[in-house]
């Protein structure tokens, strides 16, 4: 068996999610190559070559891949990947965008968002917002799979010494072009890989009040998330949404503040090791999954939390 892992990156650094995808590839077993497609992405290729368990890094460095357009990546990966038994990527928004194109071009099914590998052709994935867990067997000769990074402990980032090979396959479908982007600038840890996440919901009332959470997050080195209601209300940007249709997180500690605990929200955080809920309604469903629940007004509890943490840390 031979597995092609598509690296997730921003042209300058390798996303940690890729290390989790390599871990999933190791669980399948076989030779693991990593494809780095981007523009001026040599540093990413270098980082990928150091990852544990990688045999070879293929680099497709071209302007056509600079913005990870799904049409171009789809054609590239379908071409490079057709010699492999498995093609894997993370289930981030980039992987979700191009991988189904790869599957369609190869005329095979895709298995989305796996959280476990049972064997080379059998995978475990949540359905119905995590309310059911399906074990699925794929019969196609090439398995196209997206991996939920929180399901797999990342392989070591250092220690490997894979060879690096340039490939000059240029696929520019000419169907789409990049216009612009609005990146949420923040020095905080990435939500998906943060060890601690503190999230606010509709109970926060407005965007300014999220500053209270920021102060706590700064003390804990935490990432900040939100419920859909908080994003829809415009308190915070969309990339902070945790849940079925937002980001999936599984930190050591998840603190939900003013969040009721709708199933769609729980789908994004119920694999966290320890869950804390702060809510003034003792009937809120979030308490049914919380290891530690505090029934309190958040506008009193969060400032107190900041004070207590200053003392304790």
């Amino acid at each position: 068996m031979s597995i092609l892992v598509i690296a997730e990156h921003d042209n300058s650094s390798l996303k940690q999610a890729t290390l989790s995808v390599v871990a999933a590839a190791k669980a399948i077993g076989g030779d693991i190559d990593v494809l780095v497609a981007g523009e001026n992405c040599a540093a990413v290729a270098e980082a990928a070559a150091k990852a544990e368990g990688v045999a070879k890094v293929l680099v497709a460095d071209n302007a056509a891949y600079g913005h990870f357009l799904g049409e171009n990546l789809g054609e590239l990966v379908a071409e490079v990947g057709k010699g492999y038994s498995h093609i894997l990527s993370s289930a981030g928004t980039t992987g979700k965008d191009f991988m189904p194109r790869v599957a369609a071009l190869l005329d095979v099914a895709q298995v989305s968002d796996i959280i476990r590998v049972e064997s080379e052709d059998t995978f475990v994935r949540p359905i119905y917002a995590g309310n059911a867990i399906a074990t699925v067997k794929a019969s196609d000769s090439i398995k196209v799979v997206t991996v939920r990074p929180t399901g797999f402990d990342p392989v070591a980032a250092e220690g490997g010494s894979a060879s690096v090979e340039q490939i000059d396959v240029v696929k520019d479908a000419g169907l789409s072009s990049f216009v612009g982007e609005q990146k949420a600038e923040s020095d905080r840890p990435d939500l998906a890989s943060a060890g601690i996440v503190i999230s606010g919901g509709r109970g926060m009332q407005n965007g300014d009040n999220f500053k209270m959470l920021e102060q706590v997050a700064d003390l804990l080195g935490a990432g900040i998330g939100a419920s859909r209601a908080a994003v829809d209300a415009g308190f915070v940007p969309n990339d902070m949404q945790v849940g079925q249709t937002g980001k999936i997180v599984a930190p050591q500690l998840y603190i939900a503040v003013g969040i009721s605990g709708a199933i769609q929200h729980l789908a994004g955080m119920s694999d966290s090791k320890v869950i804390v809920a702060i809510n003034k309604d003792e009937e809120a469903p979030i308490f049914q999954v919380a290891d530690y629940g505090l029934v309190a007004d958040l506008f009193e509890a969060v400032p107190q939390l900041e004070e207590e943490l200053k003392k304790a840390l």
Binding site: D97, P100, I127, K273, L294
Partner: protein, 249 residues
């Protein structure tokens, strides 16, 4: 221009999903079904394009058992003009859904195809992208804004780091994210009118597509589940527990 919208019949998002005791799937007997929420957003976007004078006709298509004509009627009540029901009783997986939709695209030649980004049952997030690849169209996935501009469409997408805007040649495929719009409710008169709108039924064979399951679900289980922990009296106790009991800070 003509807009094609794909809508899927799924379990209502408010329903508490239960796994069948024999682990073969999820219990759908006597469960409330509804249009997939992302598909409602897709229909709404098409209707708004029509109200702006950009769309001339909205065709809505659904693949599934006879009952999914209910969701087509809902879309017609919301403002779509015409329905196509592709009858399929068993499990229609994403690639086959995409092949069927491709056949409809070839017949109807829409300028824009709008789908939901994912259906809330299988959570696959595949069909739109597969359709785009099979028809050689560009794709604007997870859209939060769609602006048609002559022979192009600009799509702003919700991506991991924030927002990203693409320009796509038409025809193109767009998949909807939550913040694209807030769908309206159908009014009673419109529900009545929808009953008279045309609805064609066809089979996969009519479209020349063979349905082949490539994925077999071996079992479906309930998640491990978490049990409620303890309530703490105050913030001081909370911090103490996190530090000394759970040891996570």
């Amino acid at each position: 221009m003509k807009v094609l919208v794909a809508v899927k019949r799924v379990i209502d998002y408010n329903v508490k999903v239960r796994v069948k005791p024999d682990n073969t799937g999820v219990d759908l007997a006597n469960v409330k079904m509804a249009m997939n929420p992302f598909c409602e957003i897709a229909v709404e976007e098409a209707v708004r394009l029509k109200e702006k004078g950009i769309a001339s006709e909205i065709v809505v298509v659904s693949i599934g058992p006879k009952a999914c004509q209910e969701q087509i009627r809902t879309a017609l009540a919301l403002g779509a003009d015409r329905g196509i029901h592709i009858e399929a009783d068993g499990d229609v997986q994403s690639l086959d859904a995409a092949k069927l939709l491709k056949a409809v695209v070839e017949k109807e030649e829409p300028k824009l195809v709008i789908l939901g980004k994912q259906s809330i049952d299988s959570d696959n997030n595949q069909t739109g992208q597969m359709l785009a690849a099979l028809t050689g169209m560009g794709q604007g996935t997870f859209a939060s804004e769609v602006v048609v501009d002559g022979e192009k469409v600009n799509v702003t997408r919700e991506v991991d780091g924030g927002l990203m805007t693409l320009s796509l040649n038409l025809p193109a495929v767009v998949t909807t994210d939550l913040r694209l719009n807030e769908p309206r409710y159908a009014s009673l008169p419109n529900i009545m009118k929808a009953k008279k709108k045309p609805l064609d039924t066809m089979s996969a064979a009519d479209l020349g597509v063979e349905i082949a399951s490539r994925l077999t679900t071996l079992k479906v289980e309930a998640p491990a589940g978490r049990s409620a922990g303890v309530k703490v009296a105050d913030v001081a106790e909370l911090v103490d527990k996190l530090k000394n009991e759970a040891k996570v800070i």
